[in-house]
Amino acid sequence: AQTVTQSQPEMSVQEAETVTLSCTYDTSESDYYLFWYKQPPSRQMILVIRQEAYKQQNATENRFSVNFQKAAKSFSLKISDSQLGDAAMYFCAYYNSGTYKYIFGTGTRLKVLA
């Protein structure tokens, strides 16, 4: 069975600094998709970034980028130039089209210090 592990329950970063959130997953599939979602206090789940496993190039979205290591089954999120609005819960998620199901990690709460 596929699993997603976020080993950091909470992280802190100074405003304007860079922080990396970790995510590892376990799967025997070769074709899958990985996501990072942000959940601010409003509870709304917001997509931050996605990565297709068949693509070797790491995805980037403005200040957000990933380090996708397929062999190591690692998918970390780097947030550059952290802003107060980045404070939220961040969830890593895995999707395999054969099962139609998304599997989420337990989340990392990010605090941004002014």
């Binding site: 329950p9 709304q44 089209s97 989420f104």
Partner: protein, 115 residues
């Protein structure tokens, strides 16, 4: 487009009562999902649907039933609510693409308390 909407946003039930949560999406998505979110446990899949008239069990289906009579709606029912079902419930939808998937779009969540 309203995206994914959920009704109601908050609800308090007594043990043994029943209720239905409604999820609606206006993006013509094939796939729809119900999750529950509990502290320290992330999002856990309750039931999902890959098309109108079809439903399937997820990770934590016990105590819940679902129906997808119309493509745009996905209903989650609690027949006899228990305190263990106190949680925040999220609905999500996504498009079907060949050998791919589109992003999941989430509703705003429903906070349910069972006393």
């Amino acid at each position: 487009n309203a995206g994914v909407t959920q009704t109601p946003k908050f609800r308090v039930l007594k043990t043994g009562q029943s209720m239905t949560l409604l999820c609606a999406q206006d993006m013509n998505h094939e796939y729809m999902y119900w999750y529950r979110q509990d502290p320290g446990m992330g999002l856990r899949l309750i039931h999902y649907s890959v098309g109108e008239g079809t439903t399937a069990k997820g990770e934590v289906p016990d105590g819940y039933n679902v129906s997808r009579l119309k493509k745009q709606n996905f209903l989650l029912g609690l027949e006899s609510a228990a305190p263990s079902q106190t949680s925040v419930y999220f609905c999500a939808s996504s498009q079907r693409r060949a050998r791919s998937t589109d992003t999941q779009y989430f509703g705003p969540g429903t906070r349910l308390t069972v006393l």
